[in-house]
C-alpha cells in the first residue's frame, strides 16, 4: 500500500496504520450520517448510533455483515418483546431498561452457546466490544419506543441499519481506505462539506414524498 508522507510520519511514531485509518474514517461516516439526515431526510438514531454501528459491523469481520445484521435484528427484536412483557409491571424507566439489557445479554449468551454446539464458532470468535455496542443501542431503541411508539422506533432502527450498511460498504472498500491513507488530508474536506450541510435549507428528499400532494397543486 502506498502511504503519503503524512501517513508514513504517523506510522513512524508507532501509531498503527489500522488505528489511524479508523480515526480518519470516523469523520467520513459522521458526514455520511449528517448528509442522510439533512439532504435525504433519513433520521436514524442521531449520529452516534449509526456511526458506532458502522464500526461495530466492521469489527465483526471477516463475516461482519452476516453476523452484524443478525445480532442487530435480534437485539431489537428481543428488546421489543421484553418491553411488551414488562409493560404491565409499570416499572420506572432505568430499572426497566436495565432488565431489558439483562434479557438481551442472556439471549446473546444463549445464541453463542447454541452456535458453539452447532460448531458455528464464527460469532463466538468475535471480540466482545462490537457485541456490547450492539446490545447498548437497546437504550436508544427503548427511549424512542416510549416517546414515539414501537412503529416509529422500528422505522428509526431500520434507518440506522441502512445508514450503517452504507457506511460499512464505504469503509470496508479497499480502494477507499488506500485513498484515505494515500491522501489523508482529504478528510479535512468533511468540515466545509458539513458547513454546507449545516446551512442547507432546501427540502429533504423524503419531504418531496411527504408533500407530494401539495407539490402537485396547480
Amino acid at each position: 500500500m502506498e502511504y503519503s508522507p503524512i501517513t508514513q510520519f504517523i506510522v513512524d511514531q508507532n501509531v498503527p496504520a489500522q488505528t489511524m485509518a479508523l480515526l480518519l474514517l470516523l469523520p467520513v461516516v459522521a458526514t455520511l450520517a449528517s448528509f442522510f439526515r439533512q439532504v435525504v431526510g433519513i433520521k436514524a438514531f442521531g449520529i452516534y448510533t449509526p456511526s458506532i454501528i458502522t464500526f461495530a459491523l466492521l469489527a465483526f469481520n471477516p463475516n461482519g455483515l452476516k453476523y452484524g445484521i443478525a445480532v442487530f435484528t435480534s437485539v431489537i427484536f428481543i428488546g421489543m418483546v421484553t418491553r411488551y412483557i414488562l409493560r404491565r409491571f409499570r416499572l420506572l424507566y432505568l430499572p426497566r431498561v436495565a432488565i431489558t439489557l439483562s434479557v438481551i445479554s442472556f439471549a446473546m449468551l444463549g445464541i453463542l452457546i447454541l452456535g458453539g454446539s452447532f460448531n458455528r464458532t464464527g460469532l463466538a470468535g468475535v471480540s466482545i466490544f462490537p457485541l456490547l455496542i450492539m446490545i447498548t443501542i437497546t437504550e436508544k431503541f427503548v427511549a424512542v419506543q416510549i416517546e414515539k411508539g414501537t412503529r416509529a422506533a422500528l422505522i428509526l432502527a431500520i434507518e440506522t441499519l441502512g445508514i450503517s450498511l452504507v457506511g460499512y460498504f464505504l469503509i470496508s472498500w479497499p480502494s477507499f481506505i488506500s485513498f484515505i491513507l494515500a491522501y489523508p488530508w482529504t478528510v479535512l474536506f468533511t468540515i466545509p462539506l458539513n458547513v454546507l450541510l449545516g446551512k442547507w435549507t432546501g427540502l429533504r428528499l423524503t419531504e418531496y414524498l411527504r408533500f407530494a400532494r401539495v407539490l402537485s397543486q396547480k
Binding site: 439533512q38 431526510g41 409499570r90 420506572l92 424507566y93 427511549a143 416510549i146 416517546e147 414515539k148 411508539g149 446551512k199 442547507w200 435549507t201 432546501g202 427540502l203 429533504r204 419531504e207 418531496y208 411527504r210 408533500f211 407530494a212 400532494r213 401539495v214 407539490l215 402537485s216 397543486q217 396547480k218
Partner: protein, 464 residues
C-alpha cells in the same frame, strides 16, 4: 414539472424551519417558556389570556404520598409539566359511582388512585419529559366538548393550531382526534387535520396522519370541509397575543373551544410541525416571506393582515354587496324534521331543479315514516296520474298525517307520485322553511338535492 418546482419553493421544509425560523427567532427564554406548561399558564393568565384552570400540582414524591385524593374534582386532566407531543396526559371524566378511589376514563376503563400514583411517579421521574429529567405533575380542569364538534371527534377535544409569525396569523388547522390517535389531537399519532380559510374560519381540505388526504370523517358521510369554526376572531386574537407574551418569534398556538368558556389556549409550540401545509394544501414558506419585515403595530392589524393575505376574502365582499350568501355546488345542509329531529348531510345545490327532494330513507329518519308507509299503501301500484282525476287523488291521499302536498315525478320507469313534507333546511347557517319531496335516491351520489325554490337567498359559486 414546472408547477412542482414552483411549489417546492413555496414549501417550508424541516431544514429551513430550524435554520431560518426556530433557531434565530425562538431564543432559549421563549423555548423554556413553551416547554414549561406551568410557567406558561401563569404568565398567559396574567396577561389576560384564557387557559385551562390549574387544580393543583405535585412536585415531589413526598407531596405525592401526602396528597389528599378527596380534594380532586369529578373530572380532570393529569399532565406532565414538560411533556411533549401529548404524551403522558391522562384524562378522567368522572368518579366511579359508589367509590371514592376510582375514576372513569373516556374509554370507559377505570383508573384507581393507585394507577394515578404510578402515573404521577413516572411523571416525577421524567418518563414523559423532553430530556428524561425529573418533572412536575399537575391537575387541571377538563375541557368540555363543543356540541358542533361532537360528530367529528373521537373521545377527545379537537383543537385549532394557528401558526403566528411577526404578529400575523399565517396558517391554521383544526385537529380532530380519531380512533387511531386514541382521542389525542396529534397528527403524528393519527389524528385528522383540516385546513382552515383564515378569513372566515371555515375548514377546507383534510389530511389524516402525516400525509393521507381525506374528504370525509372515516366511515361516515360527514364532509370535513365547510365546518365553520365558532369564535374565529377570538381564536386568532388569542394566538397573536400569546406570541407577544411568549417572546417566541415563530410559534404554533394550540387553542381548544370549551363548551362553557369558549376558546382556551392549551399549549404553545416553539417547533410547530409541518403537516399543516398538507392539511391546507398550501406552502408555509411563501406565506412567511410575505409577512417577513412588515411592521405590525397592533394585534387587530396583524389579524386583518392574516385574513386579507391568506383568506378567500372575495367571497365575503360579494356577500356584503348582494346581501346574499355565496354557497358552493355541494353544501353541508342540516335538515330539521318533525319534533326538531336534525340530520346533517351533503346536498347537491341544483339550480336546474325546481324544488327540493330528499331520499325516502332520510324522510323516514326525520319522523315521516308512518306517513310514507300510508302513502305507499294507498298508491299500491296504481298509475295515479293517468287513472285518477284531481279530486279522486285528493280523496285518496286525505287524512295522511304530515303530508302537505304531492308531486308527479317523471323517470325512466314512467311517471309516479311522491309525497311532500314540510321541514326546515339550514343552509350556511340560514334557516329556510321548505316543502320537500321524498324520493328514492339510493345509488345516487347525494341523498339531497336543493332546488331553486329554496335558493332565493343564495348565490351559487360552482368553483367552490
Amino acid at each position: 414539472m414546472f408547477a412542482l418546482l414552483k411549489n417546492s419553493r413555496e414549501l417550508l421544509g424541516m431544514n429551513e424551519r430550524n435554520l431560518t425560523y426556530v433557531r434565530p427567532l425562538n431564543k432559549r427564554r421563549g423555548r423554556e417558556f413553551a416547554d414549561n406548561k406551568l410557567i406558561a399558564k401563569r404568565l398567559l393568565r396574567k396577561n389576560g389570556l384564557p387557559v385551562p384552570a390549574l387544580i393543583t400540582r405535585i412536585r415531589t414524591h413526598a407531596e405525592l404520598e401526602n396528597f389528599n385524593w378527596e380534594t380532586l374534582p369529578e373530572s380532570f386532566a393529569l399532565k406532565p409539566n414538560r411533556g411533549f407531543g401529548g404524551e403522558g396526559i391522562l384524562i378522567v371524566y368522572g368518579r366511579k359511582r359508589n367509590r371514592t378511589d376510582a375514576w372513569v376514563k373516556a374509554s370507559g376503563s377505570i383508573v384507581t388512585t393507585e394507577d394515578l400514583k404510578a402515573h404521577i411517579r413516572n411523571i416525577l421521574d421524567g418518563s414523559f419529559s423532553l430530556t428524561n429529567t425529573p418533572d412536575i405533575a399537575f391537575f387541571e380542569e377538563r375541557l368540555k366538548l363543543l356540541k358542533l364538534f361532537k360528530p367529528y371527534a373521537y373521545r377527545g377535544i379537537p383543537d385549532i393550531r394557528v401558526i403566528v409569525f411577526n404578529r400575523v396569523p399565517v396558517m391554521a388547522m383544526l385537529r380532530l382526534p380519531t380512533r387511531d390517535s386514541d382521542g389525542k389531537a396529534n397528527l403524528q399519532q393519527g389524528a385528522i387535520g383540516t385546513g382552515i380559510d383564515l378569513a372566515t374560519g371555515t375548514t377546507t381540505s383534510a389530511v389524516v396522519g402525516k400525509s393521507h388526504i381525506i374528504e370525509y370523517v372515516p366511515k361516515t358521510r360527514l364532509a370535513l370541509s365547510g365546518i365553520r369554526i365558532p369564535y374565529w376572531n377570538e381564536i386568532l386574537r388569542i394566538a397573536v397575543e400569546s406570541q407577544a407574551v411568549s417572546g417566541l418569534g415563530f410559534l404554533g398556538a394550540d387553542i381548544a373551544i370549551d363548551r362553557d368558556r369558549g376558546p382556551v389556549l392549551l399549549e404553545l409550540n416553539a417547533r410547530p410541525g409541518l403537516s399543516i401545509q398538507i392539511a391546507n394544501l398550501s406552502g408555509l414558506k411563501s406565506r412567511l416571506n410575505r409577512v417577513k419585515g412588515l411592521k405590525v403595530k397592533t394585534t387587530e392589524r396583524g389579524i386583518l393582515l392574516g385574513k386579507n393575505l391568506f383568506g378567500g376574502e372575495i367571497e365575503e365582499e360579494i356577500e356584503e354587496l348582494s346581501g346574499k350568501r355565496v354557497i358552493g355546488s355541494i353544501e353541508k345542509v342540516k335538515l330539521i324534521g318533525k319534533d326538531g329531529k336534525e340530520i346533517i348531510v351533503d346536498a347537491k345545490i341544483d339550480t336546474g331543479a325546481d324544488s327540493t327532494s330528499i331520499d325516502t330513507e332520510l324522510a323516514r329518519e326525520l319522523g315521516f315514516g308512518d306517513a310514507i308507509r300510508l302513502f305507499e299503501d294507498r298508491i299500491a301500484g296504481k298509475d295515479v296520474l293517468n287513472e285518477l282525476s284531481k279530486s279522486e287523488r285528493e280523496t285518496l291521499f286525505s287524512g295522511i298525517p304530515d303530508l302537505t302536498d304531492t308531486i308527479p315525478v317523471k323517470s325512466s320507469h314512467g311517471t309516479s307520485y311522491r309525497p311532500m313534507f314540510r321541514i326546515d333546511l339550514s343552509i350556511d347557517q340560514v334557516i329556510i322553511p321548505a316543502k320537500v319531496s321524498a324520493i328514492d335516491r339510493t345509488g345516487l351520489e347525494y341523498p339531497v338535492i336543493i332546488g331553486r325554490k329554496n335558493l332565493r337567498k343564495f348565490l351559487v359559486d360552482v368553483s367552490k
